[in-house]
Every structure is written in structure tokens, then in C-alpha cells.
């Protein structure tokens, strides 16, 4: 179990990236959802031992992460939001190199491991090719492969699906779903569907604070009967915004699909709709923005 308590991080220059964040993450897939700039990556980096917070406490099982980062690293798999590759190094060589860094000293043992992982993430036929030539999806699959080396019990994946096409994204999520339930997997993302598809538990972070936390189903249940939908013309939007609590708008075939939040039928031609996770997310964000 990953326990984060009162974590605050202020960057030099005064930007408060995290503000008294507390979070408990149980085994299994945990989604951390938030918009760009919410502090997700800072939180991920601190948990991944790459950054020391201004104050606060992080514990994983019985490891005090901030005091003993090296202990956590032995059981950590980390896929950063953004990573490059060395030129002129193949996928296999790089994975092998990472395996050494993760403590696999014996070459034979390593080869078996690396080959297994390459097959696992579907890069087997590309193993002799330079990483620099990989497409975005292939690169992310390589990234998860290196994170899985050594059977970590904490895996952190930071915005893994950003920039992937739908097919690659699906394939990547499939990979993640195969990771066993015995480990803690923190998936940070700004894409609601990632969390909806995969995570039994989640939290929403905005402005450096955790603003909602819970199981997606439970969060969605809280919106039962409170979400209403209507298709309007663009010019009507301004009027609607003044009269209703608009959660989200989406263009569809040239017109605007509006979701509003209301405990009772707001009239105006709105129809009821079952709330999805997206509605949870946007209603939380707009409440946060209003507050």
C-alpha cells in the first residue's frame, strides 16, 4: 500500500505544485486523473524517488520513500511522462542494460528476461532496431517493458497514452491490464477513459490538491439522476451557461452537446442521461474552479 501524507512541493520561483496532498493507494490499478499542470507529474516524480518534496511523507509498505529512496527503487517500475532514447542503441540492448541497472547481474538470466518482455510487449520483431526509429506507441511499449523488469511491486506510469493513436492506446491499456493485481500500479493521466477502462480506484487532482477520491462506480453513482443533456446551436451556449451548471460541452456534427448538472429536471428541453466518469471529472473540475 502506498501512503502519501501532507505532501507539499513548492518550486523555486514560488509555484506551488502540490498542496497538502494526502492519498492512500491500495493494491491494484489506481488512476490519478487531472488536467495539464495539476501537479500529477510532480507527485509521480516524488513517489518515484526522483524529487524531494518541500514537506510531507511518502510510505510504500514499510519503506519510508523519502528517507530510503534506494529501498523503494529496488521494487519500483517507473515509466515517465516523457523520455528520450539514446541514439544507435537497439531495443534489446537497452532493455538488457536496464536489466543490469535493476540488479540482474547474470547474462543468461537477463537474456531470458529481456526476450520474455520483448515478446510480452510485442516488440520481438523490432528488438534489433534502434529505439530512435520507434513510433510513439512502440516507444511506450518499450517503456512499460523496462518498468516491468524485476517484478516491481510499485509501478508508476505517468501520462502513458498521451499522443498515442486510438489503436496504440488500446493496445497499451491492454498491456497494463495484464499487470497482476498484487502490485500497486499508479496510472496518472488526463484522459478519463484510461481510468474508466482500467482502474478500480481513482483520485482526481487539480491545482495541486486531491479533489475527489474513490471507486469510479461509486463516483458515478453519486451523479445518478443529476446529469442532463441537450443539443444546442453555438449561439445559444452563452445563454445556457448563465442559467445552468454546465459540466461539459462537446461539438457533434456542427452542433453542441451540453451536459449540465442539476438535482431536478432543469427544463429547457434537457433530457436525463446516465452520468459517466467524464461527467464526474468535469463536474469536479468545474466545482474546483468555482471554489
Amino acid at each position: 500500500m502506498l501512503i502519501i501524507e501532507n505532501l507539499t512541493h513548492v518550486y523555486p520561483g514560488g509555484v506551488k505544485a502540490l498542496d497538502e496532498v494526502s492519498l492512500t493507494v491500495p493494491r491494484g490499478m489506481f488512476g490519478l486523473l487531472g488536467p495539464n499542470g495539476a501537479g500529477k507529474s510532480t507527485l509521480m516524480r516524488i513517489v518515484a524517488t526522483l524529487q524531494a518534496p518541500t514537506s510531507g511523507f511518502v510510505r510504500f509498505d514499510d519503506i519510508d520513500v523519502l528517507k530510503h529512496p534506494e529501498a523503494l527503487r529496488r521494487t519500483l517500475g517507473y515509466l515517465p511522462q516523457d523520455f528520450g532514447v539514446y541514439p544507435r542503441v537497439t531495443a534489446q540492448d537497452m532493455l538488457d542494460h536496464m536489466a543490469v541497472l535493476k540488479g540482474f547481474a547474470k547474462a543468461g538470466e537477463r537474456r531470458e528476461l529481456v526476450e520474455g518482455l520483448l515478446a510480452q510487449v510485442n516488440l520481438w520483431q523490432h528488438r534489433k532496431k534502434a529505439l530512435a526509429g520507434f513510433s510513439g506507441g512502440m516507444r511506450q511499449r518499450f517503456g512499460i517493458a523496462q518498468a516491468l523488469i524485476g517484478a516491481p511491486s510499485l509501478i508508476i506510469v505517468d501520462e502513458p497514452t498521451a499522443g498515442l493513436d486510438p489503436e496504440e492506446r488500446q493496445r497499451f491499456l491492454n498491456l497494463l491490464s495484464e499487470i497482476g493485481e498484487n502490485m500497486v500500479v499508479v496510472l496518472s493521466t488526463h484522459i478519463v477513459d484510461d481510468v474508466a477502462d482500467l482502474c478500480p480506484r481513482m483520485a482526481i487532482i487539480a491545482g495541486g490538491r486531491i479533489v475527489r477520491e474513490g471507486a469510479p462506480q461509486a463516483l458515478m453513482a453519486s451523479l445518478d439522476g443529476r446529469v442532463w443533456v441537450k443539443t444546442v446551436d453555438k449561439i445559444d451556449m452563452e445563454r445556457l451557461r448563465q442559467r445552468h451548471e454546465v459540466i461539459s460541452t462537446r461539438l457533434f456534427a456542427g452542433r453542441t452537446l451540453v451536459h449540465v448538472l442539476a438535482d431536478h429536471d432543469p427544463g429547457d428541453g434537457f433530457a436525463p442521461i446516465a452520468g459517466g466518469l467524464e461527467d464526474v471529472y468535469f463536474s469536479t473540475l468545474s466545482a474546483q474552479a468555482a471554489a
Partner: protein, 1201 residues
């Protein structure tokens, strides 16, 4: 459109940090070079720091640097579009290719021009710096800066910018463009070296693309006053060259248009990528194994740490070895090493070749290769330390459980191993040079112990430092900057008095060891290795700090890293740091005991100060009348392996002054330890400063004229431990060589030990120059000889040394006994000798030949048998000529005695010529065209047995014309007899060029020959040769020799009054006919320069089958003043006019090629000379053998049409 593009580019580049950083660095370096009075660039000393010459040299040098700077800007101006991915957007606009290419170039080149202005500004400010000696600053000449910028630098910068701009548009890669730059530089350096021969200078001047050849050529004989005030006119060869360079640049720019491949770049690159990588969607999904079985849990870390270390090192090494930069730098270093090694072994002084023995190759490698390790260490430390961040891999890497030191140590190891690779490559270059020159005595042990092992340690220390700076710096550019600052500090701090080796961790200069084949490393390795141990300790400490401050994860702020420093130093890192600190402190303490307790810590500055104090305290005693030493009895005991030499001696002093003497002044060399000293009937006054080893004795009763007294002394010359600089090189394990002043007292004050260098004197507050006393025929002014004021004496010297060594001292050996492991030889002189002599001891092979009653011997080291025969032959030829033409030889022996390469000279003592192993012993004469310097040196030193050891000049101006000039003349005649007069031209040409070049560097005043001062070697050697050779040609060799005989008859072996150069001039005048008296005036008493030029030469066949040859010759003659200003004077002299069918001075030229050689009258101005020749000449001209001191001797001869 083009102008807008250029304007945008200009403004854009000006905003980039690259521009500011580069400008700042270039400004700083240029400022440092100009403003540091002690650093010199090309120009001779005496040239003002703000003179046109220095400004021009600076601009020429920086225009070579600007290859890199210019390329960074102009290539960046087009390549950035592809790097940033902005290219495709740009290419879909209406911008035309022409506007794009040339607009970008124009904008970027304008930035380069601005950057170059920084150099000009720095040279302006640096040259006026307030801390400079006012004598080093001339009047402010604004034109010089404009000239330097516009004429010298700008065309070069335009050419390279254009060329590499074009290359960048072709290669579309910054990396390959820079490789092009490096390749060009290598090619340029190699070609420059290959064509650096005087006869190719006019060609190089035209076509050399940086204009330094042209500038050099235009100013080659300029004097200091010309260099300080003039720019060469932009005409002739210089104009040709500048236009050529500009056109070359323009040509490249034009080529850029058709060759540029920039237009299609974006599309091509994308297409290539697509075709290589199939869309991932097409990959079949394969059944996968479950994840966990394939990923066993990580084993305990301790097992893995070593593997991680090895793997990281391998990975980092591979990164370096796969990079183009490494190979480019290595190739450059290799080319540089080969070029330097080739040069030093092919073109020693007087264009002599030497055998490429290991001993001379190693220092050349250290010198020529030295900057490359610095570049490699700096570059790759930055590259490796920052690689994970630069590649954005650091978050993944840093989150692995690998401990920090598996990141730190491999970086250091990789940089170190790369440096070692360069070391091995340089050895390969050296061995290659040896093989290619047919030298097969490979000495792997010497390479290992003298070079590889010491520098392997030094380079490891350097690698640690370079990595440490990177760990400490916020980015790699700062890290590089810090390293550069450190390197500049290492170079400059010693010049301002901070010399202690303990201040300079990993300095490439501190730990050099003097090398000798005779003495090996001797004891000179001890100090450097203690410094290395000190470096190793500091290196451990720095490594631990690298670990403790290592940047891991996103944290790069200093405060948190320093805050956790103590915690991180608990454990093994702390132990390592502690161990390092203890080692460094221990070694440092021991070093300090050696350098500052057992020995006196001295610096260049403190030595100068000491000399200045010496002068202030003691120069006033210079004229105090002193008794003469008339007999010397010494017992010298040499302990080579203890570096100890003890001397017990007795001088017999005689008062020859004709007046009673109250005082005797006794001085010793600064380092001589005086154990006992007494003078019969005199007591030492204590007033003299003990720092100066100078004692004044007062007689109880005055020493009367003609009275004799004895002086007894015991001294030691020794060194305990090692010094920071100037370790004693005189007493060594094998090859001890001391002269009498280093072991025994000298009576009376002289100027020998005083500071002479003009700038140093000014620094020390001695704001006047030290000239010898003026020329004065009055006998009262001729009481002292110029050789340390010493006179003639007899000597009885016993030398004891280890049994396996041969002791040598002046005089005939009367006994030679070996007992108890010690060998004692007793030497007694039969003829008077100067009281200035040498004692030597080493393990020698001896070759002795008895020739006409004289034993001619060469004592040489077994490593150097090459030229022993040649030396013997030279001694014989010299003996024959000198005995026949001058006077009998005063000794029954002549001995050449080799000494270690701790100094490079040959010297003449009584019947004995100590001769450095670095000079002539390894000369390579397989090519018979090379000038035979060995014979020349032998003949010169032997001639000193007459010119110094029979007559010695009074301590006045002109004294050395009686010794050095006459020895040059004598040696020339020996050479002429051996090789024939037609071969002498090459030699005279060398002497002429040396003289003309050196007079350009005269700081104070060029004296005429008869007033030459003892440190004006270019006059008494170089000009002296030309003067005497011409005189012998004009009045006859026999007349000159008759004059010299008369001089010997009058002064040989006589004490005061000693002869002066006036005696020489008088003797020559007495022999010369009336019409040559003016010539003697011109040669000896004036600074006469000629300019003879053949402007046309044509031959036409006559009806009788012979040829009419017509030459047009222009002539001019000037008198120069001491500062180089000239005054025209009418000329009417008979000069040699020659017709040849081969070029005089060329390899195959010989007597058979001379068709006609006649004296013809030549006057100022233009004249036509006609010959009727039996066959058609190919070459013709006036003064074909360069006997005149001709300011341009290359235009004397002309090919005949």
C-alpha cells in the same frame, strides 16, 4: 525578401545565448593574450602589445578559431529549421530558395562579423591595459585595428563561413559539417608543415587560405620599429592572397545554390522513417506468456553492483567510441602528433635531421599532444555526465535501484580509458615515425616508464577533475567553462609567481620529467611521482565528492545536494574521501618538506627579485681592483648517486694591479654550500648579505703589488630531496657536468649573474638596461676579461668518482687509480688556461685517435655512436686549418665529452668540449644534402681554443666578436675546405635569414658588429659569419688570417690589458688595401644592408654559337640605426655576377653548373650587365651566393628567358 530574411536571422542570432557565450569567451581569450605582457603570439618580444604587428597576428590566429565560430552560426542558420521541425512550415511559404539560402547566410555572417569585432575590441583594450609595462605600449594607431579586422581577419572568416555553410547545406548535419571543419584544419596543419620551407614561402604566401603566409612573407625582415608602426601595403602578394581568399569564399557560396539539398529535407526524412518501420497496426498479436514468470524478482543488490559498474562503463565507453567526435578529435591529435614528430626529427636547427630516438619524441608528444587530452576529457565528461538528461532518459535510469556510484565511477572510468586510448595512439604515431625513418631501436620500456605510466596517472586525475566540474555545474556549458578557466589558470598563474606544484592538481606541466638516454630518469622521477601521489589522494577525494553530489532524479538545486552531503559521506564514500584526504595531506606534507624545507622554494619571480637585489647590493663592487688567480689546485669528489659533489681547493692569488689591495671579493654560485673559506692574512667582513653567497675579505696588511697569497675553500654542490622547480641537473647518476663557477669561488664582482631581460628588469624596478661597458681602447678599461672577469691560470685537479665512471677535468691525466670502488684521476695543465673550466663524470665509451701529435677523443654514451667518426674527422680538419693559418695548438689533446640532454649546447673549455646529447650526437646524415652541423659545431668549438682560450676580449662591448665571430669564421673556412665554396651558399643563406629575422626582434638597440653585446647572438654569430666570409672574399682569406695571426702574436695568453674589437678591426685594416677600408667600416662599424635584385635576364644565341646574356640589376644600399630606421647611401661596389645552368643552393648544384662567375661594378639604381657565355644559362643573377647582407635575398637570382 532577402534583406528581411537576413535581418530576421541577424536579430534572432543576436538573441541566442550561443552568441553571447562565444563572444564573451573570444573576447576574454583575446584580451588575455594581448593584455598578458608575458604571453607571446608569433611576434618577437620588443613589439608593442598594441602594435600593428601584434594586432594583425592576433587577427590571423583568431580567424582560424573562427572556422568553428563561423560554422556554428552560419550552419546553424539553415540547419535549425530541420532540427526544430519548423522546416516544412517554412518551405511551404513563398520564400524562394535563393532568398532563403543567401538571406540566412547574410544574416548569420553579419553576426559572425559582430562576434569578430569583439576580438578587435579586446586587442584594443588589452593592448592599452594599465598593468602593462609602458615600454610595451606604443602610440595608439586606430588604423591598425581597421587593418587587422578588414584585411587580415574578415576575408578569412568570410571564406571559412562560406565554405562550411555550403558544406552544411550539402550534408544537412551539424555533426558532419564540424567533421568537415576538423578535416580541413588537419589538412591545413599538415600541408602547412609540409610546405614550411623558405624556398616555398612565395608560393605559400599566394595560396595559403588564412593569409598568414602572405603576411609573414610581406613582413619577414621587418625590424621592431617597422612592426610597431606599419601595416604592410595591400599590394603584390598580399593583395593577391586576400583577393584569392575572397573569391574562394564567393565560389563556395555560389556552389551552395545548386548543391543545397535543404528543400526536400523534411519530406525525405519522413519518408525514410516510414519505409523502415511498418505500421505497428500490422503486427500480428501473438499469444503472450504471462508477465510474471518472465520477470523474476531482482536478486539482492550487492551481487549486481559490480556487474552494473562494468556494464555502465562498457555502455559509456561504447557511447564515446561510437561518437564521431571522438574519432575526429583522435584523428586531429594523431595528425598533429605525426606532423610535430616528423618536423622535429626532419628539421632540427640548420635544417639538420636527427634520429627519432624515443627521448626526443616523448617531449614532442607531450608538447604537441597536450591540448588534446584536455579537450577530450572536457568534452566527454560533459557529454557523459549530461547524456541521460540530454536524451531525457534520466528519469527512467535514475529510478532504477542501481546505486549512485555505478553512475559516477563509470563516467570517470570511461573518460580515463578514452584518454588512455589517445595515449596509445600517440605512441603508435611515434613508433610509426621511427619505423618510417628507418630507426629500429624500439624502446618499449622507455615509452612505458617515461610516458605511458606517468601520463596514465595524470590523465586519470584529469578525468576525475573534468567529471567533478560537470557534477558541480548547472549545465555542461558551465562545466566546460569552469574547466577552461582552470586550464587558463594552470597556464597563467605560474607566470605571476604562483608556481607551487601543490596548487596545481592534475597540471599537465607540473609533473614532466627531464629525459636523457645517458642518465635515464635519474632521480628526477621522485618529485613528480610524489606530486602524482598527491593528485591521486585529491582524485579520491574528488571522486567521493562526485558521488556525494551526484544529481539524481529531478533534483538539481545546490542547497539540497549540499545539505545531504554529510549524510552521503557516511559509509564507504566517506572512507574513500578520508583516505584521499589523508593521502593528499601526507604526500603534500612530504612534498612541502622537500620543496620548502630541504630546498628553498623559488619561483621565476622570486629568482628575478633575487637577481635584482643582487645587482642593487653588489654591482657597485664591479670596479674594485682584485687580485688574479694564477694557480688552481682542486680535489673534486663526485658521488653521482648521492647527487653530491665536494670540492676542496686552493687558489694562488697574485696582485697584478700595480697598487696595494685592501679587499678581496669572493663570490659563489647561489646554490654552492661553502663549508670552509679562508684567505691568508685576511678576515671576512660579515656585512655582505648571506643570501648572495658573496663575501668580502679585508687584509690585515694590504696585499702589495706582485705579492701572492693563498685562498683555501671547501664547498659542496648537492641536492637533498626534490625541488619545486629547477632541480639540480649538474650532479647526476650518470653524466655529471659542472663548470668551475658551480663549485668554486670567483674573485670579484661581474655581471654574469645579473638580470638582463628588459621586461624582467622593468618588473623588478630596475628601470635602466644593463649594457656592457662601452668600447674603450684605454688600457685601464681593459683590466678584466669578459668571461666572468677571469684570467689565465694553471690547474692541478684531482677528480674522484665511482669506479665505473670516467672522470674528466682540464689538463693531462698524470695518474688514474681505482681502489675501493672509487676512481681517482689527476690532471695537470701544461699551458695556461682560463680560470673557467669543466669537470665531468659518466660511463663513457671512448674513441681516441692520435693525429699529428694530438690525441683527438670523443667520450660518448653507448646509445649515441652515430656521429663519433664525423666528430673525429671534423677535429682533424679543424686542427689542420687552425695550426696552418693561426698558431700552434696549445694542448696535446682535444676531447669531445657528451653530457645529458638537460641543456642543449656545446661549449669549449681548455682542450675539452662538453657537448649535449641533444645536439649533434643523434644527427642523421643519411641524406648528404643536409648541412653538416656536427662538423660545424666541432670546428666552432675547436676554434675557441684560439678565440677565447688564447685571446679573450676585455669586458666591453664587442668582446664576443673576438671569440664567437672568429670561431664562426674559422668553422666556415673548415667547412669550405671540406665541402667546397659552392656548397657554402646554403649555409650563408641560413645565417642571413636568421640574422634578418632576429634583428627584427631586437628589443633595445642593434649594435654594429664591433660593439656587439654578449647577448646579441644574432650579431656575433649570424652577422659575424656573413661579415667575415665577405671580407675574406674581398681582401683574401690569407690576408684575414694574417691579421688574425698578428692579433694572436700580440695578445695570446697575456693577461690585462685584454684586447678589444678595435684591435681586430685595426689588424684587418692593416692587411686590407686602401679601397677596402670603407668596406671594413661598413661591415664592422655600420649596420649596412643591401637590396640587390635581378629584374630581367635574357640570353640570345650569337652567330658564333656563343650566347649574349643580358641582366638587369637594381641595387640599393642603406645604413640602419639601432632601432632599424634606414638611411640610403650611394653604392658602388664590385659584386659577383653569375650565370648557371642549375639553381645555386639546390641539391644538385655544384661547380660544374657554373658557366660564369665574375666581379662586376654595381652602383645604386638600375644597370644592365652583359656577358658572352659559351652555353645558355638557365639561372643568372647578382650576388648569387648571398654574401651581402641583402634584405631580400630571394630575388638575387632569376631564371633566364
Amino acid at each position: 525578401m532577402l534583406l528581411q530574411v537576413a535581418g530576421f536571422e541577424f536579430r534572432y542570432q543576436l538573441r541566442q545565448p550561443l552568441f553571447w557565450i562565444l563572444s564573451a569567451i573570444l573576447f576574454a581569450v583575446a584580451m588575455l593574450i594581448t593584455g598578458a605582457g608575458s604571453l607571446s603570439i608569433g611576434s618577437a618580444s620588443g613589439v608593442h602589445r598594441n602594435s600593428p604587428d601584434l594586432v594583425n597576428q592576433l587577427h590571423l590566429i583568431f580567424s582560424i578559431f573562427f572556422m568553428f565560430v563561423g560554422t556554428a552560426f552560419v550552419a546553424g542558420s539553415v540547419l535549425k529549421d530541420d532540427e526544430t521541425g519548423f522546416g516544412p512550415i517554412l518551405r511551404t511559404t513563398r520564400l524562394t530558395k535563393f532568398d532563403y539560402l543567401y538571406g540566412r547566410f547574410a544574416g548569420a555572417f553579419a553576426v559572425v562579423c559582430v562576434c569578430l569585432l569583439g576580438v578587435t575590441a579586446a586587442s584594443l583594450l588589452g593592448g592599452m591595459a594599465f598593468w602593462l609595462d609602458p615600454d610595451l605600449k606604443g602610440p595608439f594607431l586606430p588604423g591598425a585595428y581597421a587593418y587587422g579586422y578588414l584585411v587580415m581577419a574578415l576575408p578569412n572568416v568570410f571564406f571559412t563561413a562560406a565554405a562550411f555553410f555550403t558544406l552544411s547545406t550539402v550534408t544537412r548535419s551539424m555533426g558532419w559539417t564540424f567533421i568537415g571543419v576538423i578535416a580541413f584544419l588537419v589538412l591545413y596543419v599538415i600541408t602547412s608543415i609540409a610546405v614550411s620551407r623558405p624556398d616555398l614561402a612565395p608560393i605559400v604566401a599566394r595560396w595559403e587560405p588564412f593569409g598568414s603566409g602572405a603576411y609573414e612573407f610581406a613582413t619577414r625582415y621587418w625590424t621592431v620599429s617597422e612592426r610597431n608602426s606599419l601595416n604592410p601595403p595591400v599590394a603584390g602578394v598580399l593583395l593577391f592572397n586576400r583577393l584569392f581568399v575572397l573569391l574562394l569564399g564567393a565560389g563556395f557560396l555560389v556552389l551552395a545554390y545548386p548543391l543545397s539539398r535543404l528543400q526536400a529535407a523534411g519530406v525525405k526524412a519522413d519518408a525514410a522513417r516510414r519505409s523502415t518501420w511498418p505500421a505497428s497496426a500490422e503486427e500480428p498479436f501473438r499469444p503472450k506468456p504471462a508477465l510474471h514468470p518472465a520477470a523474476p524478482p531482482a536478486p539482492p543488490l550487492r551481487d549486481a553492483a559490480w556487474a552494473q559498474m562494468v556494464e555502465r562503463t562498457r555502455f559509456d565507453m561504447a557511447h564515446v567510441f561510437k561518437s564521431v567526435a571522438f574519432w575526429a578529435i583522435l584523428a586531429l591529435g594523431m595528425a598533429n602528433a605525426v606532423a610535430i614528430l616528423w618536423t622535429i626529427t626532419s628539421d632540427d636547427r640548420y635544417s639538420g635531421a636527427v634520429w627519432p630516438v624515443t627521448r626526443i619524441l616523448i617531449p614532442a608528444l607531450e608538447g604537441g599532444f597536450a591540448i588534446f587530452p584536455m579537450i577530450i576529457a572536457g568534452y566527454f565528461a560533459g557529454d557523459l555526465v549530461w547524456r541521460d538528461r540530454d536524451r531525457r532518459m534520466h528519469e527512467i535510469i535514475d529510478a532504477t535501484p542501481a546505486p549512485d556510484w555505478t553512475f559516477v565511477l563509470p563516467k570517470i572510468a570511461a573518460v580515463t580509458l578514452v584518454l588512455w586510448a589517445t595515449l596509445l595512439v600517440s605512441v603508435a604515431a611515434a613508433v610509426g615515425i621511427q619505423s618510417s625513418k628507418g630507426y629500429t631501436d624500439f624502446e618499449p620500456a622507455k615509452f612505458l616508464i617515461w610516458y605511458l605510466v606517468p601520463h596514465a596517472v595524470d590523465f586519470a586525475a584529469l578525468a576525475i577533475l573534468a567529471v567533478f566540474f560537470q557534477v558541480l555545474s548547472p549545465n555542461k556549458f558551465v562545466g566546460w567553462g569552469v574547466l577552461l578557466v582552470w586550464f587558463v589558470g594552470v597556464l597563467t598563474l605560474p607566470r605571476v609567481g604562483w608556481e607551487h606544484g601543490l596548487l596545481f592538481y592534475a597540471s599537465p606541466f607540473q609533473s614532466r620529467m627531464p629525459l636523457s638516454d645517458m642518465n635515464g630518469l635519474g632521480a628526477f622521477w621522485i618529485g613528480p611521482w610524489w606530486f602524482r601521489l598527491y593528485d591521486a589522494g585529491l582524485g579520491l577525494l574528488l571522486t567521493a565528492l562526485c558521488y556525494a553530489l551526484w544529481r539524481r532524479g529531478a533534483e538539481s538545486r545546490y542547497a539540497p545536494r549540499f545539505a545531504r552531503l554529510p549524510a552521503r559521506l557516511r559509509g564507504p564514500a566517506g572512507v574513500m574521501a578520508g583516505l584521499g584526504l589523508v593521502t593528499a595531506l601526507g604526500a603534500g606534507a612530504f612534498i612541502l618538506v622537500n620543496t620548502n624545507v630541504w630546498n628553498t622554494y623559488r619561483t621565476k619571480t622570486s629568482n628575478e627579485a633575487w637577481q635584482a637585489d643582487y645587482e642593487r647590493a653588489l654591482l657597485r663592487y664591479e670596479t674594485v681592483p682584485q687580485p688574479s688567480v694564477v694557480a688552481v689546485k682542486l680535489a673534486v669528489s663526485i658521488h653521482p648517486h648521492q647527487r653530491l659533489l665536494e670540492t676542496k681547493g686552493v687558489y694562488e692569488l697574485e696582485n697584478r694591479t700595480g697598487q696595494p689591495l685592501r679587499e678581496v671579493h669572493v663570490r659563489f654560485d647561489r646554490d654552492v654550500v661553502v663549508c670552509a673559506l679562508s684567505i691568508q692574512g685576511a678576515w671576512a667582513r660579515t656585512a655582505a648579505d648571506p643570501r648572495f653567497n658573496y663575501r668580502i675579505f679585508t687584509f690585515d696588511s694590504p696585499m702589495l703589488p706582485g705579492e701572492k697569497r693563498t685562498l683555501s675553500f671547501t664547498t659542496q654542490a648537492a641536492q637533498h630531496g626534490f625541488r619545486n622547480r629547477d632541480n639540480m641537473t649538474s650532479v647526476v647518476d650518470n653524466g655529471t657536468f659542472v663548470n668551475s663557477e658551480e663549485i668554486a669561488p670567483v674573485i670579484g664582482m661581474s655581471r654574469d649573474m645579473l638580470l638582463r631581460d628588459h621586461a624582467a628588469r622593468w618588473r623588478q624596478g630596475l628601470k635602466y638596461d644593463l649594457h656592457p661597458p662601452p668600447l674603450n681602447p684605454n688600457p685601464a678599461a681593459r683590466q678584466n676579461s669578459y668571461v666572468g672577469h677571469v684570467g689565465w691560470t694553471t690547474a692541478d685537479i684531482t677528480v674522484t668518482t665511482d669506479a665505473d665512471q670516467t672522470p674528466i677535468a682540464p689538463g693531462y691525466k698524470v695518474s688514474d687509480i681505482t681502489q675501493n670502488g672509487r676512481r681517482t684521476a689527476h690532471f695537470v695543465t701544461e699551458a695556461p688556461i682560463l680560470q673557467f673550466f669543466s669537470v665531468q663524470s659518466a660511463r663513457y665509451l671512448v674513441k681516441t685517435e692520435r693525429y699529428k701529435g694530438v690525441d683527438l677523443s670523443v667520450y660518448y654514451d653507448p646509445h649515441h655512436p652515430y656521429n663519433v667518426e664525423r666528430m673525429e674527422t671534423a677535429l682533424k680538419a679543424s686542427l689542420d686549418y687552425y695550426r696552418a693559418n693561426f698558431s700552434p695548438y696549445q694542448f696535446r689533446q682535444a676531447r669531445v665529452v657528451e653530457f645529458p640532454d638537460y641543456a642543449r649546447f656545446a661549449q669549449s673549455f681548455a682542450g675539452t668540449f662538453p657537448w649535449s646529447e641533444g645536439l649533434g650526437f643523434i644527427a642523421d646524415y643519411r641524406d648528404p644534402e643536409k648541412i653538416d652541423m656536427v662538423t660545424y659545431i666541432a670546428a666552432h668549438e675547436f676554434a675557441h681554443q684560439w678565440w677565447a682560450h688564447q685571446i679573450v676580449g676585455a669586458d666591453q662591448q664587442g668582446a664576443t666578436s673576438l671569440s664567437e665571430t672568429l670561431a664562426q669564421y674559422s668553422a666556415l673556412q673548415v667547412m669550405r675546405n671540406l665541402y667546397g665554396p659552392d656548397k657554402i651558399r646554403k649555409f650563408l643563406k641560413f645565417e642571413l635569414d636568421s640574422y634578418l629575422r632576429a634583428r627584427g626582434g631586437e628589443v633595445l638597440e642593434e649594435q654594429p658588429l664591433y660593439k656587439v653585446e654578449s647577448d646579441q647572438g644574432y650579431i656575433h654569430y649570424r652577422k659575424g659569419s656573413l661579415v667575415m666570409y665577405r671580407l675574406a672574399d674581398e681582401i683574401g682569406e690569407d690576408k684575414v688570417n694574417a691579421a688574425l695571426r698578428s692579433l694572436l702574436a700580440q695578445y695570446a695568453f697575456k693577461g690585462a690589458p685584454y684586447p678589444t674589437s678595435l684591435d681586430l678591426v685595426h689588424a684587418l685594416r692593416a692587411q686590407a688595401p686602401a679601397d677596402k677600408q670603407q668596406l671594413i667600416t661598413d661591415l664592422f662599424e655600420m649596420r649596412t644592408l643591401y637590396d640587390v635584385k635581378t629584374t630581367a635576364a635574357a640570353s640570345k644565341r650569337r652567330p658564333d654559337g656563343r650566347y649574349d646574356v643580358t641582366l638587369t640589376v637594381s641595387a640599393a644600399k642603406v645604413y640602419a640605426d639601432g632601432k632599424g630606421k634606414v638611411l640610403k647611401t650611394p653604392m658602388a661596389e664590385d659584386l659577383w655576377i653569375g650565370l648557371f645552368d642549375a639553381k645555386p643552393g639546390s641539391g644538385k648544384f655544384g661547380p660544374k653548373n657554373v658557366i660564369a662567375l665574375e666581379k662586376r661594378p654595381i652602383h645604386s639604381g638600375v644597370q644592365t650587365i652583359s656577358f658572352i657565355a659559351p652555353r645558355p644559362p638557365t639561372w643568372a643573377g647578382a650576388d648569387p651566393y648571398n654574401e651581402l647582407i641583402d634584405r631580400n635575398s630571394d630575388d638575387n637570382l632569376l631564371a633566364v628567358k
